[in-house]
């Protein structure tokens, strides 16, 4: 089962940032369960094979005030994919800090062997912040350019992406879910 973690404070954002991820999983026949980050417990984490932490809107950053709710990230031994806000959460729990950079819309980014991305890709951005993973020794960056777009923990299956793959890179989510023949 894939645990989909909703980080939105605003209820209406579910449709924009969580449901598209659920749709990708459902269309592929993958079993998932969605939960708000404030409700994540040991029980949910134990029953999940993989975890996806979804993104949220530019202004919906209440999760930053409750960042301790994600403390499970430091100890989890299951694959986790953090999308945008989800990537921020991962970075913050490994000592990163939020840096200001607003990017909205399609941008050309360059990737190296990251969950099926190997070359230049047009990705959809929607963020006011990023985390400089270049300074986090535990992480490797799989994109070129000043702002890390795709990262992975060196020892664990913790992935982070700054862009929204539900727009143009749906296969990235499926690649994350299908690793090790899940």
């Amino acid at each position: 089962m894939i645990l989909v973690v909703n980080v939105c404070f605003e209820k209406l954002h579910y449709f924009e940032f969580v449901k598209p991820i659920e749709d990708i999983l459902r269309n592929r026949g993958l079993e998932y369960s969605t939960i708000h980050y404030t409700q994540v417990s040991e029980k949910y984490l134990a029953s999940a094979d993989r975890i996806i932490i979804c993104g949220t809107s530019l202004k919906d950053d209440d999760f930053l005030n409750k960042i301790e709710k994600f403390s499970w990230i430091n100890n989890i031994n299951k694959p986790v994919l953090g999308i945008c806000a989800g990537m921020h959460v991962i970075g913050l729990h490994f000592g990163g800090e939020l840096e200001k950079e607003t990017e909205i819309g399609f941008y050309e980014e360059s990737f190296q062997s990251f969950l099926g991305l190997n070359d230049n890709e047009q990705v959809y951005h929607l963020h006011n912040n990023y985390i400089d993973f270049f300074h986090l020794k535990e992480f490797e960056v799989f994109s070129k350019g000043r702002i890390p777009q795709a990262v992975k923990h060196r020892d664990k299956e913790l992935y982070g992406i700054l862009f929204h793959p539900e727009v143009r890179q749906k296969s990235l989510i499926l690649n994350f879910c299908s690793k090790n023949n899940l």
Partner: protein
């Protein structure tokens, strides 16, 4: 949260409002942009003058703003309209009916970000057959008022979006890649009734104009 809705009178913007209300949000004004350019990149234009009657049916005040519809410049007009709604109605966010158009969505996101208000796109990336089914299930009465992609012709004008419509559009989607919800501009819609309307609208008169593959139906409603 108090929201303003970008409203064209079509199915997407109306259904987006419906979802917002179902989630408990207040929608305190509708914002309609009347573009003088019938080929506007941002705004749907057919029968937009009828949105006043829809706004009355919804019981939500309407803020109308005109634009010449010049590419990118029309964004300044949209920003002006949203600023006006913020000052007049105290809105804290905008709802749009964007589904696939990153052109529309990213530009509205930028405006909202600059004005420090929320931006909600509850139909974003939604499967378009699922959207049609949701509209039918939730008793939205929607008609086609413009068609602009082969093989859609004038005979599609006035068609209701019902199960029969889905049956007819499905093979065109498979053969000609016609977008089932018209997101690519293949057709435009007009909402005559929905659960939020105090009283449904009826088509009293129609006037059809066809120029090559572009067919539109001006409706008089009451």
């Amino acid at each position: 949260m108090n929201l303003g809705a970008l409203f064209s009178g079509g199915k997407d913007s109306t259904f987006a409002i419906y979802l917002a209300k179902e989630c408990g949000y207040d929608v305190s004004c509708l914002i309609s942009i009347i573009s003088k350019n019938p080929y506007s990149y941002m705004f749907h234009t057919p029968s937009i003058s009828k949105v006043e009657q829809q706004a009355t049916a919804l019981g939500i005040p309407l803020l109308v703003h005109e634009t010449k519809g010049e590419e990118e410049k029309e964004l300044l007009d949209l920003e002006e309209a949203i600023k006006k709604a913020k000052a007049q109605y105290g809105i804290e966010g905008i709802i749009t009916g964007a589904i696939e158009s990153t052109y529309q969505a990213s530009r509205i996101q930028k405006i909202c970000n600059a004005l420090d208000i929320e931006c909600f796109n509850p139909l974003w990336q939604k499967d378009q057959f699922e959207l049609l089914e949701d509209l039918i299930q939730n008793k939205f009465e929607v008609v086609i008022i413009a068609a602009a992609a082969y093989p859609l012709d004038a005979s599609w004008l006035g068609k209701k979006m019902d199960l029969e419509f889905i049956k007819q559009i499905k093979p065109l989607h498979e053969k000609y890649r016609i977008n089932p919800a018209g997101e690519g501009g293949e057709f435009e819609t007009f909402v005559l009734d929905c659960p939020m309307f105090k009283k449904g609208l009826k088509i009293l008169n129609t006037r059809i104009v066809s120029i090559e593959n572009n067919h539109s139906m001006e409706v008089t409603v009451g």
